[in-house]
Symmetry: C2
Subunit: 150 residues, 2 copies
């Protein structure tokens, strides 16, 4: 800490996004809130791509992506080749995502977990490190599919 953190959500998760953004700022992080900012219906892919590009362009070190289940926005983030988004619902997976996958975006389902679990996941995520070693070549393949030989 502190980190530059991009955060975005669809309408199903805008309240959790606002609370997480405030909380991350209180801890000294620089937070880029990429929307949405109200309950009007929007399309989660639009916001997933924004988070993906924020980490891919190094505007942010980490991203937080939220929708109702976390599923749709996690798919969208992972369309961006340099983004590595982990959908999690508990801190153990949040840690593994950093240790093994060097994930740079965490996705959460605002209608599936509560705010304190969400905070625990985000906290664990940004405070965990990539293990490197045997995991490095695999992570490299996630950004360079052409290096994968079936």
């Amino acid at each position: 800490m502190p980190y530059r953190i991009a955060i975005a959500s669809d309408h199903a998760a805008f309240a959790m996004k606002a609370e997480l953004a405030d909380w991350l700022r209180e801890q000294g992080n620089e937070v880029f809130d990429l929307g949405t900012s109200g309950p009007e219906s929007v399309d989660y892919p639009d916001y997933g791509y924004l988070v993906g590009h924020a980490v891919a362009s190094a505007k942010a070190e980490f991203g937080v992506a939220l929708c109702g289940s976390g599923i749709g926005i996690s798919i969208a983030v992972n369309r961006v080749p340099l983004a590595r988004c982990a959908l999690v619902s508990e801190p153990f997976s949040a840690r593994l995502a950093r240790n093994h996958n060097d994930a740079n975006v965490i996705a959460l389902g605002a209608r599936l977990i509560g705010i304190e679990m969400a905070k625990a996941c985000v906290m664990t995520f940004i405070n965990s490190s990539f293990d490197g070693g045997r995991h490095a070549n695999r992570v490299d393949k996630l950004s360079h599919p052409e290096r994968s030989k079936p």
Copy 2:
């Protein structure tokens, strides 16, 4: 049922993959086992791409992708634009992934959930349908990022 189902895993999940493949075949599905087939260390992206391409090419209607946490392989599958992979750990999310996101691949963490929970997730996934309606345009954007306007 029956469906054509592609299944693949890394070494951390090959035993669960074999058990799920047998179980899906017993129910009359056609199962394409894309490996890996033993405990030798492999790279999960290689197997995630295989599952993604199997559904993208319509060789299979559904895919099942497994690794230790499910995180790494779910990222890999979602690099394939026509694949929509949901990482889940319980059946409610498996159903939402079909209802709202028209997910065609389910990812599971073989070191995080047990075989009966895995079966319940897969069963719910392949027996649930896409709701269409307001979700259709969002799903379309997942395969066509250029249609997303930030």
